[in-house]
């Protein structure tokens, strides 16, 4: 039997965006100079990236400030036209068919609310319901769902301008989901939120992904979110994709060091292992450093327990922030 392949939800090929900015010099002399010969500088915000996203994936875009994440998202929803390459959403080009694509698209920019500032949240929703032509019964069902996870009913009668950041973000997420889009772009949805709200937002994203097979693209600087949500991580740096894999793969590949801290019953410790390094010995406590790829934790523990009685132990996992920082850094100082 022939296997039916579903086309990718997103397909980007060599997608690029250049911004032309005038280079300005400072000072009075500079200002006069700017007036007559302002030099154009070309900034490659996105520099030939290619990727595909399948239905139901949650993909995290991460990268340092100015890497080109927001620019990429804007090109995918048709706000910006690419200066090179192409992107297709369900086989359509956002440049030509923006109105068709956005019908089935939810967008949240964490930095800027999509809600109508002067309206009560509920009125904003009602307006969006009409814009997206969602019928009343379907709308009520969706709202009930959204309320369950995001507690929308608490804030539905508050004017948007009076909402706190976290409340507004909940409102924004609900607004983006009102028309049950199959694709969701979230640009820094958890920026500036407390742990509680952050948790409920992550839960929300997971639930809609599971329930409706919603494809989610999300950018964030919070790696905890990424760890909690994303099956796949695309790291962008300086407009280029430097890594595209799962978090475990990234950790395996960079093979960072883990630490094993063991408390023994003696302070006369003489320990050595060819594939682990003893970092320090303090009284009865010994700390070892090792790499996952070279030796497993259990192997190391059983090796130690053959020589000493172990009272207690703890394993310190790699800090993913460190891992990611290492990747960003490698890019800046390429290995010769």
């Amino acid at each position: 039997m022939e296997q039916k392949t579903t086309p990718p939800v997103i397909k980007a090929v060599n997608l690029s965006k250049e911004f032309i900015t005038k280079k300005k010099e400072s000072g009075i002399k500079g200002a006069v100079k700017n007036l007559f010969f302002a030099k154009n500088t070309v900034k490659k915000a996105v520099d030939g990236i290619s990727f595909e996203v399948q239905r139901g994936e949650i993909v995290g875009f991460i990268g340092p400030n100015g890497a080109g994440k927001s620019t990429t998202i804007k090109m995918m929803c048709g706000i910006l036209n690419p200066s090179g390459g192409e992107v297709w959403i369900n086989g359509l080009s956002p440049k030509k068919d923006r109105q068709v694509i956005v019908k089935d698209l939810g967008v949240v920019f964490g930095q800027r609310s999509q809600l109508y500032w002067d309206l009560r949240l509920g009125e904003s929703f009602e307006l969006l319901r009409r814009i997206y032509e969602v019928d009343k019964a379907k709308y009520d069902a969706t709202m009930e769902d959204l309320d369950r996870i995001l507690n929308i009913n608490d804030i539905i009668n508050t004017p948007v301008r009076q909402l706190s950041l976290g409340q507004r973000m909940r409102g924004d997420l609900a607004a983006a989901m009102l028309h049950s889009p199959a694709l969701l772009f979230l640009d820094e949805p958890t920026i500036g939120l407390d742990v509680e709200v952050k948790y409920s937002i992550c839960k929300f994203i997971k639930e809609i992904n599971k329930k409706y097979q919603t494809t989610v693209i999300l950018t964030t600087h919070d790696l905890d979110d990424v760890q909690a949500l994303c099956d796949r991580i695309i790291i962008i740096n300086d407009g280029k994709i430097v890594s595209d894999s799962s978090l475990e793969d990234i950790i395996d590949k960079t093979s960072p060091e883990r630490q094993l801290i063991v408390d023994l019953y003696t302070d006369d410790i003489q320990l050595e292992h060819p594939r682990a390094e003893v970092v320090k010995i303090e009284g009865q406590r010994v700390t070892l450093k090792f790499r996952k790829t070279e030796i497993s934790a259990s192997e190391l523990i059983s090796y130690i327990s053959k020589q000493y009685a172990i009272r207690d132990l703890s394993l310190v996992e790699t800090d993913i922030d460190d891992v990611i920082r290492q990747i960003y850094k490698q890019q800046r100082e390429p290995v010769v």
Binding site: K74, I79, V102, I131
Partner: protein, 270 residues
Amino acid sequence: MKTLLRYFSLAKYFLKINIQCGLEYPSYLISWLISNPLQFFFGIITVKVIITNFHALEGWSFEQIAFLYGLGIISHGLSVVFFIQTWYIDYMITDGEFDRLMVRPLNVFFQFCFKDFNFVGITDMLPGLVIFIYGCIASGFSFTVINIIKILLVIIGATALRGAIYTISGSLAFWTKRSGILTSVYLTLFTYTTQYPVSIFPRLIQDLLTFILPLAFISYFPSSEFFGIDTGYRFMGSLSVWTFGVGIAFYLLSMTVFKIGLRRYESCGS
């Protein structure tokens, strides 16, 4: 057809929520209700003083100027009701408002037009209406069906022309990122050219106001037609129809400029 109906019902809804928003600040509304009319009544009193001291102004009697003055303010008021958002395009760009409009499955220009109904602008219009009606009665304007249709054509055309000029100058912000200063320049220009007979200006400026930036069509030409005053310019057909035509033509032009500006936005961003 279906799209048209959809847009129409959305426009109605936008209107409704805008009025609702406006009503949330009643004190704001009341303060405008008082200060705006005052400004225009002072304006017409000034005209009265000038005329009683210097007699007729370029062949116009006070009653006729009241008609012209009122007519000009009516389209001003309407343009402030419908086109106020054009004054803030620069702000909308830096604020990323267009990003917001672009992720909705609706025409961007439509959303832009119906984003704001500044119905407080009616406070600009009311004194104009009072002065205009006074002018009609005092100058012996005859309310025939033809004349009423002509007045409506003039009001629509003049409002469209004002809106078009706001839209074009506002759209410059797509290139320059700034357009706020222009708005106040236009407002002053409109005041001087639509509330007094254009014939007080030198001929060269009259030419400019007729052929380049046709502000003379807003109230001067149509009023001159109603009173049979010679302006020194000859046009085929009714000047009221001309005002309507010029207004619509400029409005179509302004839509094009806006569209080109938006295309520029798509390549440069905010």
